[in-house]
């Protein structure tokens, strides 16, 4: 009976019900849009960092401060099995990194040379998916893969020869000529402008660092446990080594995300407040119009809690409809933009290159966004409905009947 009453009350003032449900719908819609855009940006920023650095790395404890060959290490089967034994680590990608001058016939540029085991990089750099022209190299080939920014700068193409000049382990000179087998393109502008990849063995020999590694990139299974995993590993592995998360290695990105997220939260709060006050206004009017009726119902013998539960059910109906409609409306929009990210015009693009972010607005479909925003707005609507409930609890029957409550 109470349910029927609540349901019928929705149609009592259709316009008001519609306005309330629509307010909730808009709140959900815009909150989802905002959050999807923010999460999309964060996910992309993190992706642009972690595809190269991984979620976590193991390297010499001084390597991140001073990435010289003195701070490389000799891997051992013991170490590998120790790392792989951790429940959250499912794979390792060994790398050696060093700086060198990259040169074509007439141009030179500082580059970061990374020796990789191509099969182990599948879940990280994933060359196959980023290759713009040419192909990847095999383990035992003497070939190089260039990032497209560097290739463009040096005017090099697949089939051309790249010259690398630098200094290797213990001050030995490092020099080599490498045919270019492939060019890859990365979203992160900075990395895209300076990366050169060689097969691990080839890079080790270039830098006279045979058998040595700069780092193991960890393949982390559950990203949410990343921070804990790094701490746990730190305590287990030999003392001269350490484990670092991407947040420690590239703190700027983590900070940018945190700051932007805080601004997003403020914007969301403002959105919630505006919509919340709008809803409150209609609820206020509804309550005032029904005070007399509340008085009659309590007079004839309806318990207050029954009346309150009718109000709560009404709020529940409206909030559910509003939230679900908001999600239904937002989802296709977000889905569209997820697959068709917005490319910014060239003015903005230049600016974003300067700040090392991709000139693209990415959207996220992370279910967390739908859950949290749906839940927040729903909760706000329910909290607002506590106004009539509070009124009913305090109602003086006689005053309500006299119209002076």
């Amino acid at each position: 009976m109470l349910g029927t009453l609540a349901y019928r009350n929705l149609f009592r003032n259709k316009r008001r019900t519609l306005i309330t449900a629509a307010s909730i719908l808009f709140a959900v819609f815009f909150a989802l849009l905002m959050r999807s855009l923010q999460y999309g940006a964060y996910e992309n920023m993190i992706k642009n960092v972690t595809f190269y650095y991984g979620y976590a790395q193991v390297h010499h404890k001084d390597y991140w401060k001073e990435s010289s060959f003195d701070n490389t290490f000799e891997p051992s089967a013991d170490l590998e099995s120790q790392l792989l034994r951790h429940s959250n680590v499912s794979g390792l990608a060994p790398r050696i990194e060093g700086f060198a001058l990259a040169a074509s016939e007439s141009i030179t540029k500082a580059a970061m040379v990374t020796g990789v085991e191509i099969e182990e990089e599948e879940k990280l750099i994933n060359f196959e998916s980023k290759i713009r022209s040419g192909r990847t190299f095999r383990k035992d080939e003497k070939q190089a893969i260039l990032s497209s920014g560097l290739a463009n700068f040096l005017h090099l193409e697949v089939g051309d020869t790249l010259v690398l000049l630098g200094q290797g382990y213990q001050g030995q000179s490092a020099a080599g000529k490498y045919p270019i087998c492939g060019i890859v393109e990365f979203g992160a502008p900075q990395l895209n402008s300076r990366l050169v990849f060689l097969p691990l063995l080839e890079a080790q020999s270039l830098f006279a660092a045979e058998g040595r590694l700069s780092s193991y990139i960890l393949d982390v299974e559950n990203v949410r446990r990343n921070d804990d995993t790094a701490i746990e590993l730190k305590n287990e592995i030999p003392e001269e080594l350490t484990a670092m998360t991407w947040k420690e290695m590239v703190p700027q990105i983590a900070q940018v995300i945190e700051a932007d997220n805080a601004i997003g939260m403020i914007a969301l709060t403002i959105l919630y407040l505006i919509i919340g006050f709008g809803i409150f206004g209609t609820i206020l009017m509804m309550t005032r119009e029904r005070i007399y009726e509340f008085g009659v119902l309590i007079s004839i013998g309806m318990k207050r809690w029954k009346l309150m539960s009718v109000m709560l059910m009404e709020a529940f109906f409206i909030a559910t409809i509003g939230v679900i409609m908001g999600i239904i409306l937002a989802y296709p929009v977000l889905l569209y933009f997820y697959f068709n990210p917005i490319y910014l015009g060239s003015d903005l693009a230049n600016l974003s290159q300067k700040y090392d972010v991709e000139p693209v607005l990415h959207f996220s479909l992370n279910p967390e966004i739908f859950l949290t925003q749906g839940a927040y707005v729903f909760l706000i609507a329910i909290i607002i409905s506590f106004y009539p409930i509070y009124k009913i609890s305090k109602l003086k029957v006689v005053k309500a009947l006299r119209g002076t409550e």
């Binding site: 019928r8 009350n9 119902l297 007079s299 004839i300 013998g301 309806m302 318990k303 207050r304 009947l401």
Partner: protein
Amino acid sequence: MKEIIQIRKLNKTYNPDTVPVHAVRDINLTICEGEFTAIVGPSGSGKSTLLNLLGGLDNASSGEVIIDNTNIMEMDENDLINFRLQNIGFVFQAYNLIPVLSAKENVEFIMLLQDRPKKEREERVKSLLTAVGLGDRLDSRPTELSGGQQQRVAVARALASKPKFVLADEPTANLDTQSAETLLDIMERLNKEEGMTFLFSTHDQRVVNRARRVVNLVDGSIESDIRKE
């Protein structure tokens, strides 16, 4: 005759600390089963205040209202709501009904609050609405009924809970003469045929003439209490 309401030394003062208004003064009154009583007096004489106290809707400043050997002034709010549901039928001046429920549902509503079985509810709703002359308007919403018809549904609802008595505060005040007459006819018949006790307030002389007992209120005190034969 059985006494069902005993009022002893009842007083009600509004705003005792600021601008005291003595709306009910030292009232003693006994209502017996089957009576058809009008509380009469000009506006502001304390009729509503008295009926509210009798109905357990408001607290007295002092005195007792004893219904069925219970002083309702000593009951707490929750017990009082239940007491009203089981013992008192209410008819207010206007807007008695839940607008989103039909006539039938409005009458049934109070029996649902009482948890009465479905079969009993359905039979009673039919017979009561027929008794108030609305047997053919069971499914009409309050907005589809005239003011007089709405008051008749309210009377049917008041009786549906099988109360000990019905309190009606100026039930005809918003009605035209014809509708008021009809409503009184119905109340009178229910009083005679079913023995229902009615206590209603009015300041309309035509309505007063229909009552068999007239309690005259002036400035919150009983000036006269006349039983007609």
